[in-house]
Symmetry: C2
Subunit: 428 residues, 2 copies
Amino acid sequence: MTTQIEQARTGGRPTTEMVQAVEHEPLDPAALCRLVAEGRAVVLTNTARRPAGACAIGTGLRTKVNANIGTSHDYADPARELRKLAIAENAGADTVMDLSTGGDIAAIRRTIIEHARIPVGTVPIYSAGADAVARGQTVTDMTADDMLRAVRSHVADGVTFVTVHCGVTRSVIRTLDSGKRICGIVSRGGTFLAQWIRRTGQENPLFERFDELIGIAREFDATLSLGDGLRPGCLADSMDAAQVHELMVLGELRDRAFAAGVQVIIEGPGHVPIGQIEAQVKLEKELCHGAPFYVLGPLVTDVAPGYDHITSAIGGAIAAAAGADFLCYVTPAEHLSLPDDEQVRQGVVAARIAAHAGDLGKGLPGAADWDAEMSRLRRKRDWKGQLLRCLDPTVARAVREHGRPADEEVCSMCGKYCVFKLADEGGK
Amino acid sequence: MTTQIEQARTGGRPTTEMVQAVEHEPLDPAALCRLVAEGRAVVLTNTARRPAGACAIGTGLRTKVNANIGTSHDYADPARELRKLAIAENAGADTVMDLSTGGDIAAIRRTIIEHARIPVGTVPIYSAGADAVARGQTVTDMTADDMLRAVRSHVADGVTFVTVHCGVTRSVIRTLDSGKRICGIVSRGGTFLAQWIRRTGQENPLFERFDELIGIAREFDATLSLGDGLRPGCLADSMDAAQVHELMVLGELRDRAFAAGVQVIIEGPGHVPIGQIEAQVKLEKELCHGAPFYVLGPLVTDVAPGYDHITSAIGGAIAAAAGADFLCYVTPAEHLSLPDDEQVRQGVVAARIAAHAGDLGKGLPGAADWDAEMSRLRRKRDWKGQLLRCLDPTVARAVREHGRPADEEVCSMCGKYCVFKLADEGGK
């Protein structure tokens, strides 16, 4: 069998997945096919279990939104996570990542994949670490084989993209140690690996045995999401030598995977001051040769726990406008607790706002049509139309009903002084 | 008596208000004094009734946040607006504007000024228009004298800054008419004046009799906030000839007021695509010779009613980072209804996040210290400290309690896999 990239490279004929993936995109299958051949876009798929909804991520495509779900030690109920999956899908998430670390992780993953209508991603090292803990060991007792086995097992289950923190190398950790971070490493996978390396003295198996990872991804035509284990955990730590060093390593690994016909996306921060966001996106595009950039946030301030869906919507919109392709949502619970249903919903909506604002900034063909349509409905005081076509009809309707006007033609803020009503009555 | 500007110009000695205003600012009274003398900062005050809390706005100062409160036809209860005033103050608003258009507008204004601990602004033409309607006439039956009288009456009550839509001139309206906006005029004051001009054929009294406005502001040392009656009401209308033409007029008027020793701020949009925000800020700073820029939002998409506190936090952060000085909050109720207490609170918090992110982007001295402090507390897993020092302790505490962890040392998302706990236990 050949992968999406190989098919794109050799025949130039779009795959079934590509045709499906551009259904709601401003480009045609042939254009997506060229972008995949160049490694500037990926099509999330898996030959073991093709996801119900195809999704392509990268240049020329709508900015996508991922919602993280999954159990923790404190909240290990699979039913709760299935509910979050449905909420994320209904709120418009393009992908979900199952980041479960509590309960029967393998069973939960399989259930989520089974129920998901959108592509599912995971971080295999979480389950490898948790398995070690379940055996009464610690996270750093994982073997290199455990790590590779976890990746294979996730991908064989039908996961379409796996986060692998291949860039947390001994050399990158030396760079980290020579710096002065406030928060050190804040990626869980990055922490597992850094501690494993420190304890064993050996090189990161996900780096050293990268060809095996390529082999697993090739076998199932899955996508490698090269994780940023050294992403900054606060503004002060942003864009330091450790972060940039890791990104350079990821750029080299991207080239190897790409050459082998395996799709790659690159993960990025995190916590970034507003003035550095564009530079970070440009740097990724340069060092990783145009590979799709998948950012977590970025959060533009550290001071607003409880509102990190907003701090990350600010950063996400700027990142997307600068060329980031894929936004991982952040919920209001970030830094405080595992999100509940409503927080998942809020996180998806905030990230979708950021993604759309970013698409407008990118000049994505057709993106402004939605805004123009909403504006025409607003001008006509077509409330039914506005409440039907807006990003979240349920919430918009509830807000309007809550502050109900006496006159149905206007809203309760301006009432008879509604500028559109005045214009209609007074001419212009 | 002499105004803040005159005192700054002649003696170069900071006024009492300046000394008070820099208490929580990264500059000293002498520096503020120089900025006021150059018209690049204003100190909100009123000799009839000096506000309890002094507030300076402009270059070198923290980005400020205004909360709009006030009655409408549908919700005309003064008690409700006093409650919103207290909520806005407690949530950290730097100023409030009373935009009442329902009930006994003058009485409500006076009550708000009496209770406010922060400077109060208003839009006098609202009450002039509402008075005409109360007399059984229409808004366009206001006389020129009515408009000027309203301004004097508001300022004499102790309002520190008044929005006056002086730039909606006959010539600017011709420019508007030659364009093709979707939403036309969306400023209420702008609509009142445009319709008045169309009906009477006369020039905008706030433009033609601008010297009288200067006189009123001088008399009470109040600040003129030159309103953008032609601000775009949707992304498609942004930065058109009409908007820029009005801004050019405001730049000229700013020079006249400044020469007469009257403080001026310039109001800006509105709805602006993410890629135009920086250009709009630079344009204002250029055309208005460094006058403080007061933006409403800007909203970066038209499609998300119910979430315009988020769409505007994105735009506000970018605007502030580019040099905007003063953000008018937008609540989740925008475009749908008059905001209630909780929506006011959410609006203030979202705008404060944007303002702080903008201050980081501006490189405001000391702004990053707060983030660094929060990050050190986070690294130490000092939950008490984090919940005390964050932007909204009440909400952050509630989110943490709602998703309570079994182990108080961590949060319920990562639990025993908390990266900081692992680092403390595993070294680094």
